[in-house]
Symmetry: C5
Subunit: 99 residues, 5 copies
Amino acid sequence: MVLAKVVGTLVSTQKESSMDGLKFLILQNVDIEGKSTGGFVVAADAVDAGAGEMVLYASGSSARQTKQTNNRPCDAVVMAIVDNWETDGKFKYKKGIND
Amino acid sequence: MVLAKVVGTLVSTQKESSMDGLKFLILQNVDIEGKSTGGFVVAADAVDAGAGEMVLYASGSSARQTKQTNNRPCDAVVMAIVDNWETDGKFKYKKGIND
Amino acid sequence: MVLAKVVGTLVSTQKESSMDGLKFLILQNVDIEGKSTGGFVVAADAVDAGAGEMVLYASGSSARQTKQTNNRPCDAVVMAIVDNWETDGKFKYKKGIND
Amino acid sequence: MVLAKVVGTLVSTQKESSMDGLKFLILQNVDIEGKSTGGFVVAADAVDAGAGEMVLYASGSSARQTKQTNNRPCDAVVMAIVDNWETDGKFKYKKGIND
Amino acid sequence: MVLAKVVGTLVSTQKESSMDGLKFLILQNVDIEGKSTGGFVVAADAVDAGAGEMVLYASGSSARQTKQTNNRPCDAVVMAIVDNWETDGKFKYKKGIND
């Protein structure tokens, strides 16, 4: 999975009918320090994530293994909101503190 | 999914027979500001997208989860035409205004 | 799908038995102008493509959605020979003219 | 599969329900010398890997071919802890010696 | 598929149980001239490839379409040993001559 920050939303009226009801989030990829890498992706939301939250997203066929995305033409899904992560025993990100 | 702009079309007569009837679109990848990133891809069209429209496309096995592309050797499909997107509460693109 | 030009062939005698009879093509990726990008890939041939032809290839599980490649350890297949493509209404490539 | 070193862990409370009980590891990709390449990924743990261990991870649909990750929105899984590797007959890494 | 050269092997004792008996090869990616590109990958061996041989490997779900790798968390498999390849009618590699 890849770490990213929710930075926006996208609206589409004319879409493949099975995509109706899915929320599209714009995600900014972040590095291990939580800083933007410059890359971004548009993902479906399976966990009710909001702007500014750090999340994990899954890509490819794994993005269809949620109730919301099953059998849909969706190749990226937010499947977890991140509380915190650490490397070498030091917290790099804590929700509510490093936002 | 990835943001892109429809910039052209491609014609193929001699192709895998299951691809008959599919329309091939040439997509220019765009960044979060809607500017070209230099990359492009050829995708099947599942939503009747036209030249100049901003779209989302799905890749890999997810590209086969539409009526048009099911069980076909197709690894990219346009599955949504974009109305607008915003980041940090500001619109970056609105159809008909930023085209 | 990705645009590429057939530039060569590859021979393998000792291979996974299900690959017997498949023709391996060496493809040079091309950009939207039809110029080499420097990248290349080896793909199975599902459309009897020949040296010098512009083609589309599909990757991943989609590469197995042809009669020739079904259930085989094949992750790239040439599934269309390109007649022409245009961007912004101008032909970038026409078979027999820009070869 | 890709070589990586376990450098941390990630905690998520609000996630797709099927992900409950999975442990998320932060992996630093390494090159053939065992040095960091700068890239990293978040993967589920299928082999009880610990901080500092060299591991292999599998991506995409292959990441779901373990008991822990089957049918889950998981696109990267640690499926092996590395004892050693060699190139051209010389050991590049031995567990317990090059850690 | 991608061209690569077998440059080493990797040993793992503690791994997902379904991976038992698989041989892990370290592959150096090569360009169309047969020169190293700097990249490498760890792949399962389905064709009894040896050190120094030029091979093709398949990635993703296609890497599971061999008897050895079926239903296993394996995302790269060597599925062919290369005899030779040519571009523009000139041999770039012949086994036993360009090794």
